[in-house]
Amino acid sequence: MNRARWDLLQALFEAALVLPEGERAAFVAREAGDDASLQVSVLGMLQADGRDDPLLDRSIPAAAAATVGRIDGRVLGRQLFGPYRLLRVLGEGGMGVVYLADRADLGSQAAIKILPDAWLSPVRRERFVAEQRTLAQLNDPGIARLYDADTLPDGTPWFAMEYVDGVPLTAWCRERRATIRQRLELFRMVCEAVQHAHSHAVIHRDIKPSNILVRGDGVVKLLDFGIAKQLESVDLPADQTRTGLRVLTPAYAAPEQLRGDPVGVHSDVYSLGVVLYELVTGRLPYRAADRTPEEMAALVAAAPPQRPSVAAKEESLRAGEVWTAPGSAAWADLDVLCLTAMHLDAARRYRTVEVLLREVDRYLNGEPLEARPDTVRYRMVKFAGRHRRAVIAAGIAASLLVGLVVFYTVRITRARNAALAEAARTGRIQRFMLNLFQGGENAVAPADSLRVVSLLAGGEREAATLDREPAVQAELYQTLGTVYQRLGKLDRADTLLQRALTQRQGLLPPGDPEIAASLIALGQLRIDQARFEEADTLVRRGRALTQAVLPADHPTAVEAAVTLGQVLEKRGEYAAAIALLDSVVQRDTAGRTTGPELGAHLRELADAHFYAGNYPLADSLHRRVLTMYRARYGERHPEVATELASVGEIEIMLGRYPDAEQSYREALDITRGWYGENHPETAANLTRLGRALTYEREIPEATSALEQALAIQERVFGPVHPQVAEALNELGNLDFDQDRYDLAAMRFRRALDIYRQIFGERHQFVAVAMSNLASVLVQQKDYRTAEDLYRRSIGIYEATLAPDHVNTGIGHIKLGRTLLRQRRYGEAVVESRAGYDILIRQTDPATSFIRAARRDLAAGFDSLRQPELSARFHAELADSLVQPAVAR
């Protein structure tokens, strides 16, 4: 049939329809002429138009019933399923049809689940097989066991499982008029089964009384893991398992399930809460009849359910029953139990089924409940929410994070035989946790507002119960300690890392690498605590152990070397640090270590070069790392920001201030986006930007940046911390430039105090602070004190820095000017000349200090009446002003 033919058919059909019925046949015959088939078609259409069509008018449901989801009655009674013979249908679930089967050879019974229409989609087959795998994993008296599984010749998969001849939980309680206590005892058995599933990382997702059968002997069995889910399979947006969302049961589903959000342990806790509610009150918390998931979600979100105590009273009045009421105090506890488990906010529910179980036990023992809604998990979720972007960037949904951490502690508690799998898991989660907090050197957020610490406290409590697993316990202490350290909670980290070390020393042979790992971790903490001597001792001890038992390229051995390099650098032993870190990087390159490890090692080496004053080397190393990290993490990652800041630091030292400003702005932009405004990394980059702006004379902008930074840092770190001192130092410089000398002196004194407390007297930061304070004193005409400070600072520079360090040069120039002001011209020109000679050998001679030196030398030689020398520096000064040398 072509288009024209069809148009003709339709035209004739419609023309005939407007005629009285009696005239239609004649009309069609006339119009069709000798086209007999046209005539037949149109007449057929007219007939069809007037009568019911069994297919077209019935539409889809009948067609579906004829084709979809059926199992042939003839399968019954035939032995097609291994040793089993199907007897009758037990039920039809979302993911298959369940039959009762018997096994003649053993005289036993089983339930057989079949997936009809398995051909339809791989997704359905996968889910069916997933249920089978889940059951195979679980081995608990409260969960129906898997017996056998296979596929029929036509590809239909089936599996056989334990047949439970029982009655749904609520019906059982109703029929037997069970007491509250009996109901709670049954309920705790359900919890144990769910807990068992959770400890295998399986979330049931469809807990409801019809899936909980009570056998004649009173044993409770949890059934139907058809939509259960492995916790580790992340609920990504593309997750297809939710195709069968409809199979959830709105009355028992958690709000997040109803909304289609990711589910976790907390969703099963909610469903258990509903079951408990129904058990103790005799009715559902919300009337769910015929509601869609969307309607149900709206209802649940609108208001909390009626308190169980009230509902139970109403219900027993309505039914005319009298319960053996457990008393008002007990009802208050039941209210708390149900409503906590069913909290709308997943974070405020019992964080695990285990916790719920303990509460049920407390209730049954007549002990007071422990639960308060504001639990560790709540705080954890809050944390995850605040740092959502970081968490998502790590590729992991926040809920998974919570689930994993909770699961981890549960799992650890249950680890009765610490097998290899456990070790692998521990290592994986440890890396996961550390990566979560990675990015900021010191802290993820201000320590006092950091709710995640509460999570760690929970972890500590769990760890404390692991007495019989001292090795796992030590591992957990070590992990928690390192996490605390990353969070800047150094005291807590100290306790835990010490505990891990002590435990390992008592548990393991003296040369064990785990002891070395503990020593090194503690050493790293000492570095953060600025207790460098102790760090040195600890790390050297750890390194000696690794050198005795491990190959040089073993991760622990490498870590030992790098950490020692850090200690050496912090102690100002730059040459030794560089030599050690150089050897690490060379071994990396030879062994083709790439990625984050190589980047981290190069960075340490670059820092050592930087502090030693080898700027071009430091610069090229940092730029290498920057390129690596950009390729690896993208443009806007904290690691990239850190490298940009390092590059900016070098640009400052080389006098390339606009470049430095640009680098710092990029770094600040990244950290602000990543961590938010109130974070030490943001503050650190504000400080750096403030410094660059100060050098560029953008005073109001610089002041604002630095004051923001100082405020953040004092809040985060407390009053005595190098970063607070750094901010004070920058602000002091700014005050100085604005001729606010008293204020400047106060700030520099505070910075000096802080540096002395942390580093002792002989450290270049102490020298910098002294030198800056001296500059103020010069302006206040206190030349004697200034001179003393300059001389001490130059002494420290010479003892701690590379020869000809810029700072040493600047120190000499400043000292020279002080002497000039005191009209001690002979001494002045010696110092100015020494400083000038040092600075002029550096890469960029255009700094203000060189100009100052020239001016002072010209003036000094004038006063000393040495016209030739004076003229030389006058000339150089004039040149540099005419054509500002920009040696890039």
């Binding site: 069809a48 069994p54 019935r58 889809i60 009948a62 067609a63 042939d72 036509d154």
Partner: protein, 180 residues
């Protein structure tokens, strides 16, 4: 797969179709179960499942531009495909006697609706599509997708009167073909 013929559905969305396919099946299974329970109110509504699949799929960039009505048209096609595929299997099972293990139970046949009649409808609809694709699409949306007259009018860019007129002619022709 016929879906590839639709201009809005390119190879990129192919994976997405499988999901829609699953949703269509679940919906059909639900309807089938209601019919077998003797529930007379079983109707194909703008289904929660297909809606949900749409919500999910509309988040994929390739489909973000696709108007919801077009999505429902694709869903109708998925329904049709599932039904036809299921009908073919039922028929194949019946004919291949020995292999018929899990198959259509004839004793529970639903009136005149059989796998055969569905396949006949499918063929007739193909013939109609060759002559007038728009009218074939109309039937597909209405019969397999449960779209309302107004929705179909909007989808096809014609008046509701035209939709009703075209449906009447197409229905009459198909019904006649199915009888003959």
């Amino acid at each position: 797969m016929e879906l590839a013929d639709l201009p809005e559905v390119s190879g990129v969305e192919r994976a997405v179709i499988d999901q829609l396919f699953g949703a269509a099946y679940e919906e059909l299974k639900r309807l089938a179960a209601s019919v077998r329970r003797g529930d007379p109110s079983a109707t194909l509504t703008p289904t929660a499942l297909v809606n949900e699949a749409w919500l999910k799929l509309s988040a994929t960039p390739a489909l973000a531009q696709l108007p919801p009505l077009h999505f429902r048209r694709i869903a109708a096609r998925a329904m049709r495909q599932v039904l036809i595929e299921a009908a073919r299997r039922r028929l194949a099972d019946k004919r291949g006697a020995g292999a018929s293990l899990v198959t259509f139970d004839e004793s529970l046949d639903q009136g005149a609706t059989t796998p055969e009649s569905l396949l006949q409808l499918h063929d007739a609809l193909e013939a109609l599509a060759a002559a007038n694709p728009r009218q074939a699409m109309l039937v597909e949306c209405r019969f397999f997708g449960g779209l309302e007259t107004a929705e179909i009018a909007e989808l096809l860019g014609v008046s509701e009167a035209t939709v009703l007129r075209d449906w009447r002619a197409a229905r009459a022709w198909l019904s006649h073909e199915l009888r003959g």
